[in-house]
């Protein structure tokens, strides 16, 4: 940490001075007339800032990685190299300022580099996730037969070992609960989005949209308690019991409904923005033909906004799969393969959390199974996403 302070300060100082120096210098070489410059002073300044800051920062990152891997110590040499890089970038970019130099192109190259770097972070995250789980998953499968894990319909971990750790009931619970949550959240969210963007007055919209977004910010424990204390008993007393579907207050339905509420803003807010971005000319074209508003929305606006809406729905689905607290409190912790929506079930995610935070020996299959569950879920959602991408590709419509 301390060894970084000096280089960072140097970089910061150089970029700030570089910004102003480059601007002045650019104006100077142009004799005060920016029209003579191929690139604007602003762009020269930007180029200088980027050229001064990026190489040494990249060096710091690379070197830190190297230091961790090789367990080497930080050294003065390193500090020197970093500062030298900063100074070189600073000097070169300043010297390079001529009337005909293309600072914009250079600056854009730096920016492009940053953009590409940013988009690799997602990839690196995935790699990190896979690697942080792969090793323990491997350990798990050394202790536990993979066939039992993937094909057993029984989930009952046991402190004495000899546990049944079949993933099927958990997967079933995950799918069932997510399905119910989405059947609830998607229509409501979509209709809310449509109403907000197409029917509501701008005043109502400016109140209702942020209000609905609060739903996404309420901690899930509140939803969980709501499910446990209010929705669960209500569903049991008014639906499950009269219909003879069981006596359980925790149920897939309870968790699904409550989770659905939480997911509404994911669908509604994002879709609303996308719908709002559909050009008015599209709507006009439809109205001009004598279409009603709803016909216009259903047949012109929604198809045009479809890729974005699908994105929003996928996001909601993802959130449903990853949710724990609502499931724990709303659906119970029982792993079960059943079609009855009024029975308690549980999900993969819940079991990842509970096995990871439980009391079982951390080197035992009962704990390690969490990693295998995580990795399996990862692969399954990957498959679902590939499928979704395929569908979106098939139905996308481009306006203009």
């Amino acid at each position: 940490m301390q060894s970084l302070t000096l280089p960072l300060l140097v970089i910061l100082g150089l970029t700030i001075t570089g910004y102003f120096l480059a601007k002045t210098r650019a104006l100077q070489v142009a004799g005060g007339d920016i029209r003579k410059l191929v690139s604007l002073p602003k762009q020269h300044a930007l180029n200088t800032v980027l050229a001064t800051a990026i190489p040494p920062l990249a060096a710091i990152v690379l070197f830190s990685l190297y230091r961790r891997l090789a367990e080497a110590e930080g050294s003065w040499l390193f500090t020197l190299v970093v500062i030298a890089l900063a100074v070189t970038g600073f000097a070169l970019s300043l010297i390079g300022i001529k009337t005909e130099s293309r600072a914009r192109t250079f600056a854009e190259r730096w920016i492009m580099g940053l953009l590409i770097f940013a988009s690799t972070i997602a990839i690196m995250t995935t790699v990190g996730i896979v690697f942080s789980m792969l090793f323990e998953t491997f350990n798990f499968f050394e202790q536990y037969d993979w066939r039992d894990f993937f094909f057993s319909a029984n989930w009952s971990p046991n402190f004495r070992g000899n546990s049944d750790l079949g993933i099927l009931p958990l997967l079933w619970g995950t799918l069932y609960i997510s399905f119910i949550a989405l059947t609830f959240a998607v229509p409501i969210g979509l209709f809310a989005a449509i109403y907000l963007s197409e029917y509501a007055s701008s005043r109502m919209r400016s109140v209702a949209k942020p209000a609905i977004e609060i739903l996404a910010g309420i901690p899930t424990i509140v939803y969980g308690l709501f499910a446990l204390v209010t929705v669960g008993p209500f569903l049991r007393d008014y639906f499950a019991s009269p219909m003879g579907l069981g006596q359980s207050a925790s149920s897939v339905m309870t968790a699904g409904l409550v989770m659905g509420i939480m997911l509404i803003p994911f669908v509604s807010s994002l879709s609303d923005d996308i719908i709002n971005a559909v050009p008015q000319a599209m709507r006009d074209g439809s109205f001009g033909l004598g279409a009603t508003k709803s016909e216009t929305i259903r047949q012109v606006v929604i198809p045009a906004a479809l890729p974005g809406i699908v994105g929003a729905i996928l996001l909601a689905a993802s959130r449903a799969i990853g949710e724990t607290m609502i499931v724990v409190l709303g659906a119970g912790a029982a792993a079960r393969l059943s079609l009855n929506p009024f029975e308690a079930m549980t999900t993969v995610t819940v079991k990842i959390v509970s096995q990871l935070t439980g009391d079982t020996d951390f080197a035992s299959p009962e704990t390690l199974v969490a990693f295998a569950l995580g990795l399996t879920l990862f692969v399954i959602t990957l498959g679902l996403n590939v499928f979704a991408l395929f569908i979106v590709r098939k139905y996308r419509e481009q306006y203009e």
Partner: protein
Amino acid sequence: MEDMIQMDRTMSTQQDIKIEAKGVQVYYADNHAIKDVDVNIADKTVTAFIGPSGCGKSTFLRCLNRMNDTIDICRVEGKILLDGEDIYDPKVDPVQLRAKVGMVFQKPNPFPKSIYDNVAYGPKIHGLARNKADLDEIVEQSLRKAALWNEVKDRLNAPGTGMSGGQQQRLCIARAIATAPEVLLMDEPCSALDPIATAQVEELIDELRQSFSVVIVTHSMQQAARVSQKTAFFHLGNLVEFDDTDKIFTNPQDPRTESYISGRIG
């Protein structure tokens, strides 16, 4: 030919009034875009709106089927009667109105759908086709009338947005006539068309006039003279003159009309 048009024109003046606008005022926020316009649009007639760019032609046209409703800042005052009924009456359903009064917009705006779906859209929502064959027929006829059929018949499933400017314009014309409106408002329908296509569209307009009323905005004085029986000249939001087309072009009453027409080029 000349005297046929002459005959038509005489006929047209005897025709019933289809649309009657009285004291129409339109504001975009504070911008007074249409100032106290009175116009009677006869049935089975082509009426042309001419005037310099920005004078309010499109705005007025959009009033006639209440398309201005979709612009937040736009406010319309006055009375517009269609077959004697006030279209701004709260009881009037703009949807029904627009089904009767179709529109081709100044900027071509095809839906991001296939060419076929673009044209079939109107007939579908209005239930004009009993079955798929019917619909195919309507689509083909409309595209034929809009002089587009030959160019697109092999790619009806291609997106309507991936067409040339003129093709899009004709697609929008086809789309509008597919719903068989009683009044067709066309905002510069031939601006992106070559002379041959223009001629075909003009033919179409003439054909439509047999049964319906057509209002066309155009910058081409020749076109106005060719296709219309009545002409309205707008200037800075005012309706300067409205009369039989030949009268406007041969013997304008207002000096502004005179100078606009004489200032014409080519």
